[in-house]
Subunit: 430 residues, 2 copies
């Protein structure tokens, strides 16, 4: 080991993740030094408020001037755990310009502007690592970027947001409605005071964009990801799912088209069969299924968030990037050579579960069936239940393009005999 | 991309795995070239019998002289998929001496002689990669070697042999005995004609040695791994497991001791609760649980064997090693700095499920309980069932050192009132 040379690290942000990173750097200093090949020296910690108590962090390391810190010029690795687009983007770019490699957990920024960051890293011969950005502690970026590099990934199907999984799991096991389950998640600290980023699917969509990029070696922008949140999932949707032997999960789905020339990325709640391994991912856990031509079906499971699991991923990256720094080498950069077309949601092929409230009179089923047939959407099952002149019709389709399914729903809404399209949900994982 | 420079690859072995490696190298040539940064050129394929039909492999590449192939001197990467200790070991060493890096799937050799191979790679500035050696297609070596490098792994608990998992799963779901289930596994191609390496736990033990080395940064030899196979697991063991809400799996368990100074590695059948994620790993699938201080519990799941999944892992390594070759760099070498003591099986802490056939008379339970107490093994539950002057006693213990449990069983066997120790099985995963 090189004890003369120290690996100088600057930490930007010292909140849930940053404080754990700093703590583990101290408690596991010997292990990290042995694994990197030189001791790690934390040279500065940028925060917003220097006055707060930060146990274990020497006061003289704290600064509010993050820019000055990354401009020092003697820093080997900058760890960015502030979050958000700015000032994180500017700081990371400045860090590259001043000779540092970067480890970040910032999915929002990567989904927004990943290619520009990769380009800056490339230009300055630096590493950009971000294992923590996708599914917290679960090693997923490295397997996709490296382990499966000799294979062809066709599909990534995952639960990548712990907050929404906690809420949906709660609704499923207790019969609670969305509002009640959200309240419990907030009380237990699984949801933030403003839960929008999670429950509206923004967080999952950012991860889907990153995953699709890695899986298909193609740039996928956040805008390319179709996004629906869980706020409209009702207790009765959950009950219908149960009747079908399914549960409801918020899924991030990245798929290569059957002809291999395009990809889609989408985030939405969907029914999945209880027998599917993702159905038994409970609480705030995350899990990601990866289907590759040669490898077959792989699954990665673990805590998708939390200060300490996320710090584990950050430090794993620090070891890799630190070793590269000491040896004057670099890890893999962006791989976007495939440049597949990113197709719109309408091209995604999926199944629908549709509940209709209809008039209880002869001919309604025929009318409905004609509309499905008119858009080439074939029906798997229909269940009809009558009650006091009203009836409900539950239709489950076979796989069809999302655009065809949406057109069917549009026409159903116009039928006089259809009083309400009570719910529409996609069915996945079969 | 560098199209002048080609990455020259020699393939040693062209059986289940090798033929798939060669096939994917051809079908995915463009992808591999883009990911590596230069086209891959297969310059030779060593086999035993050149006369066999090898679809897709140009006849002039075949040779029976593997040694001459690795001595050519112009080879960038040697892929060793012959298997076994010799000639694989000699060929790999020669490959390093002649400037090549090596990718191998050979768990037997790595468990037998890993440190010497690592040393040879180090000496010649080459890479030694072996993702395929542990759990087929499941990315496990890279996550342990790299993603968790900033964390402390405390436990690895896995199903790492597909043949035995298929057999035990069959016994569990059909009530079949071991012999019948083995027969079916053989008929379906899940077990080899001579199933010894699988059913006696040798294959799993080799993987346990490799996993323990990676997890604890400590050399663990094959001889250090306590090994019991599944040949003595009976239909009635399976039934007892069910009664306890458990199933039986062949587990590879690598653990750090509570005080952190030593490690144990063992392979044996064990009961695990049905609610444990490993209990729902069916058929020939593999899955590995990893518990780390910061990351918490992670699980990796997928096909643990088969030509094509294993080839996926081999090719992922080829991409990494190929990139290093082109850039004149190297990946991580052996990490054995921790040098923890490898403790014997007696020190492993576990629980026992013991079924005794005893005389149905007063005082027997007291006698039995005294023996447990004498070795400081505390009893969790006892179930007693009488039938015609005979009785059975099922004891489940709390966690205790394996040596204490074995001493208890030794004394129980000597009791006049104990007619038979009908079965002993460890209970894990709680
Ligand atoms: N928390 C998780 O479970 C988790 C999981 C995966 C990924 N991530 C990602 O990790 C990153 C950090 O998340 P977090 O939960 O640790 O956030 P957090 O608890 O809100 O911490 C943010 C930190 O950044 C500091 N900061 C904010 N603005 C700053 C500025 N302009 N200059 C310098 N410092 C500034 C804050 O300073 P003060 O301490 O003074 O407020 C705080 O220390 C985000 O990108 C997030 O998406 C988090
Ligand atoms: N199969 C799996 O699912 C799997 C999974 C994980 C790891 N692995 C590992 O992968 C390796 C290969 O396994 P496999 O199943 O592909 O074995 P296999 O089907 O038996 O193939 C072995 C190949 O090596 C060739 N060979 C044998 N002795 C040789 C020698 N002295 N010189 C040159 N070539 C020789 C054979 O030639 P011929 O073709 O002329 O007989 C054959 O092509 C082993 O280390 C195994 O443990 C296999």
């Amino acid at each position: 080991m090189n004890t003369e040379r120290k690996l100088k690290v600057a930490l930007l942000g010292c909140g849930s993740v940053g404080s754990e990173v700093a703590r583990i750097m101290t408690t596991h200093a010997d292990d990290l030094a042995a694994r990197i090949g030189a001791p790690v020296e934390l040279v500065g910690v940028a925060v917003r408020r220097t006055g707060r108590p930060r146990p274990g962090i020497p006061g003289d390391l704290l600064t509010t001037d993050a820019t000055a810190l990354v401009k020092r010029g003697d820093i080997d690795v900058v760890i960015e755990v502030i979050g958000g687009v700015e000032p994180a983007r500017g700081l990371i770019t400045t860090a590259f310009e001043h000779g540092a490699s970067v480890v970040t957990a910032n999915k929002a920024l990567l989904a927004e502007d990943g290619p520009a960051l990769y380009a800056a890293a490339e230009q300055h011969g630096a590493d950009l690592y971000y294992e923590a950005a996708v599914a917290g502690a679960i090693p997923l970026v490295r397997p996709l970027r490296e382990s499966l590099a000799g294979d062809r990934v066709n599909r990534v199907l995952g639960i990548v947001n712990g907050t929404t999984n906690f809420i949906l799991d709660k609704m499923d096991t207790s019969g609670a409605g969305y509002a009640e389950a959200l309240e419990e998640a907030t009380a237990l600290g699984y949801a933030e005071a403003d839960p929008t980023a999670d429950v509206e699917g923004f967080d999952a969509a950012a991860k889907a964009a990153i995953l699709a990029g890695l899986a298909f070696h193609t740039r996928v922008r956040l805008d390319d990801v179709h996004r629906e949140g869980i706020t409209e999932v009702s207790a009765s949707d959950m009950a219908s799912a149960r009747e079908m032997g399914c549960t409801v999960k918020l899924l991030a789905i990245c798929e290569r088209s059957a002809d291999g020339t395009s990809v889609t990325a989408r985030v939405h709640p969907a029914m999945i069969p209880l027998a599917h391994p993702l159905a038994s991912v409970h609480g705030a856990y995350n899990a990601v299924f990866v289907e590759a031509t040669a490898a077959g079906q792989l699954m990665f499971y673990g805590p998708g968030a939390g200060g300490s699991p996320t710090a584990s991923a950050v430090l794993g990256d620090l070891v890799a990037v630190g070793r590269h720094k000491l040896n004057g080498t670099r890890g893999p950069g962006e791989s976007a050579y495939a440049q597949l077309q990113v197709a719109p949601m309408g091209d995604a092929v999926t199944r629908y579960h549709i509940s209709l409230d209809v008039a209880d009179k002869p001919g309604v089923l025929a009318q409905v069936a004609t509309i499905f047939a008119g858009h080439d959407v074939s029906i798997d099952t229909v269940r009809q239940q009558g009650k006091d002149g009203e009836a409900s019709l539950v239709v489950v389709t076979h796989r069809a393009p999302d655009s065809a399914l949406r057109a069917v729903v549009g026409e159903l809404r116009k039928l006089d005999t259809v009083r309400d399209v009570a719910s529409i949900m996609r069915v996945e994982g079969e």
